[in-house]
Assembly symmetry: D2
Homo-oligomer: 284 residues x 4
């Protein structure tokens, strides 16, 4: 994998942004390997992502930030620059279901995902052996009604302690407290086992079965305080028929969940996702 | 297209149904070209569809009905038998949008659909010329608040007059009165331009745009008194991205609507759909 | 539809292209509504497409060309600029099958495609009535072994006479002579009823049936002298099963053909396609 | 999972087969939970699969076989009956790529697949640790030109020794000798990383990249002596674009390979696949 910097920008739309930014890059001989733009004319907002060969630029991230800051200020940019050589630190949270965790662990193990899985947190012991085989620490933090605050205090401590960049709820069956949702806004990714906004809430496959839909789906989204209402990163669906029982749907759905979650997570850790107005721009 | 009879059955599930029916057919040398079964163990209900070469049986539909009636009674069957040589009579209802009507007219014109489109009813004049080119009568029945009852009385009269077997709401933008929904229960098919139950009601593409979903869809369903809540026959989706405006979604959605509607209608007119518990069995 | 200019560029890849072009645009206050880039590191080639609000630029296409020419020369660019207000002139060629022609005619009729269908040429009379209803001239040019050269001379004359920008082989069942393929290179689009390179040549559905594939497809591609070997613009597939006969596949395939062709044609007429090395870049 | 028997039949098509078989089942009070039929009118061949509640029948498989044999003879049936309580014994063969093996191991581990993975055979040591964590024996049998016969002799011995019902080539990068293909005909399943018949042979993603296709795929098929020509069980595809490098295609392709292989294997071990004329009937 090539060593690149990823420059990610969103700002009010106006003439000259691309020129200014690409001039800046070209001044320093920056070799652009990928460039994506989007302008939302309704919102009057502009989005841009560049991937630049690190070696083509004569300085590191710190100097880049200093040099770019005046441009950012001029255009009122929300922006950041990330280094592909510094893989993001990921914490997985799970319960008893193994398919999403196993899938992400294997993608990490086989170097398909450029991230560091620093820990797994679970409210059950079931997946400890699988996780520890990968030499990743497994933290068992049970959650019950009385100990909820304490438990999520502990979770918070771990996220801080590991300096995690991303928390992935890989079929974690507890609702995060609002305080954590807010504190780690834009950093917590969930997989919901339905094609949201259909069948939000509990037991979506049961809901889907009752309604008699002909496709089931999964939704990868950022977690916000409004349950199942956060910005959607990725969705996928699968055709079913009357002959599929709820059990079939649960089983078939696993593949859709794994795919939507791993694609959503990949987009996030490659700095391809920008959120605004409870929606996302995802630059492929 | 081969001349066949379609025997469609649903009944409480128990041992011996298939044996009894296939014995009956084999007794009369019925040559089965297609056979489909489904048993819903949760509902305790059984569904069956046979397609039989008409020429292989020594009598016509009337005698068939007489001969089969005792079996039907023994097993408490809901059943009917249809003749592929008697194409169903279809009335299309539309407003201003032409894509679904044009698509169905062409499929009919090119003999892709084995049905007879006997008339088109619209609350606008826009599509008259297109329809009349196909030599199909076009009935303009405007609907406004004051004339609603009268207008739908007229619609009802046309459905009766044409002895229509099916009414297709091909992007017809008026809500049918409850009385018609009930009178023609199981005979009125609608295309809704969203992946139901997401975005029921008006302006689903606008809803989808606001929610920032990554796939849009369409749903072909039977019309019931509960708007957008009837049994689903067919659904389809299409991937979109942040770069698609509402206008793009409307345009892209048309293809999904056409596909879902034409596939749903085909299933219906080939007697492949059985409804129960607000769901459908669709035998491919 | 907004009035825009589309600036389409391909050139050897090096630092500074984007900066130079976006500087140029920003100098003249060009408002970019869409920007797409691609660099093929293996081929060392760079591709770029900008869509610019026409009214934001202080001059027309001619002056634009003059002003931009030095930059184009500096970077060895293949480039052109197109005006969305000058819809491309399209000639459809067809035989007896109507589905692709009917689909394109309806998209044109309902203003879904921003192009002018100036004529239809066919080696059969079958579709005359359908075409003429749209008030489009229909040219019947039969092709048989003895009259082949003469027939295609006539076709050539029509393409020239209508000043067509694009010729669409909408299930036209004759092979174009090499001379025409060469003369109109990059301007003739075909729909092949298979997922190329599988089942090139004649009767692809029969081939697919024999091979027992589980998906069938269609391929929209530019016509070259090597039959079925030209650059692919768009492909699509559809799931089938053992229960689908060749007739079913032919019928089901029509929908895939229509979709692939209309999407490919749309990309072409919106100047989204750049060809190189017998492949295409298609900017969505 | 319910305890069932699966009765799988293919025979020349004629009137009365279904009646005879369902009569037989109903005589013994057999409770049919799934029934699938297919008749290939071109081939004049009939296919049937029943799934029957084991407890509903008054005898075991041996007596079933004796009782059914006269019927089978009368209709010239190829047939077998399988017991869901006797999971098939599966041997996986692999090389260095881990994604298919890891996927199947996890599906087995989480009881998603009703089969017993009795051993893994590889021509490399790379996946030993992963396999042995699952407490499955790992046999390292290197294959080089000089030792080929010997190596595959050893493989043959293991298949026999383990009494394997199925051998899965889960990205095993050696060609099986013709003798093994023949000996285990219908029992060896391969995943080919292309949408066959496109890009048969080596390095299909490189071939696909050169050809500039817009979709890539994978094919799960039975292994025959004709490389990549065996009966296809399952295929799947994925949309790509010009921006995907060969490396991207290899990575994206893995998900398609895993899905096609696991679905194909599931169909096989549930006795849903019948082969004839180098094709398959797959009863969903």
């Amino acid at each position: 994998m090539e060593h690149t910097y990823r420059l990610v920008i969103s700002c009010p739309d106006r003439v000259g942004i691309v020129a200014k930014v690409s001039n800046f890059l070209s001044t320093y001989n920056g070799w652009i390997t990928e460039a994506s733009h989007h302008s939302d004319s309704q919102a009057g907002w502009f989005f841009m992502r560049h991937e630049i060969k690190a070696e083509s630029i004569p300085f590191g991230l710190e100097q880049f930030r200093i040099a770019f800051e005046p441009i950012a200020r001029e255009f009122d940019m929300n922006w950041h620059i990330a280094d592909s050589a510094q893989p993001k630190k990921v914490i997985l949270m799970c319960s008893k279901e193994s398919h999403c965790v196993a899938d992400l662990l294997h993608r990490w193990h086989s170097k398909e995902i450029n991230a560091e899985i620093v820990a797994v947190i679970s409210n059950h012991e079931d997946l400890r052996r699988m996780v520890e085989w990968h030499e990743i620490p497994y933290h068992y933090i049970p959650v019950d009604r009385s100990s909820r605050d304490e438990a999520f205090g502990e979770v918070d401590g771990l996220i801080e302690g590991y300096e995690a960049d991303v928390v992935v709820l890989a079929r974690y069956m507890q609702v995060l407290p609002a305080s954590l949702c807010e504190k780690y806004s834009g950093k917590v990714i969930n997989i919901h086992h339905s094609f949201l906004p259909s069948f939000a809430g509990a037991r979506p496959y049961h809901q889907a079965y009752s309604r008699g839909v002909k496709l089931i789906g999964a939704t990868c989204h950022y977690v916000t305080q409004d349950l199942d209402e956060g910005p959607i990163i990725e969705q996928d669906v699968l055709r079913i028929s009357h002959s599929d029982s709820i059990e079939d749907m649960v089983r078939l759905g696993k593949d859709v969940e794994k795919n939507a979650l791993s694609r959503g997570l990949r987009a996030h850790i490659e700095d391809r996702v920008i959120t605004y107005e409870n929606k996302t721009v995802v630059f492929d």
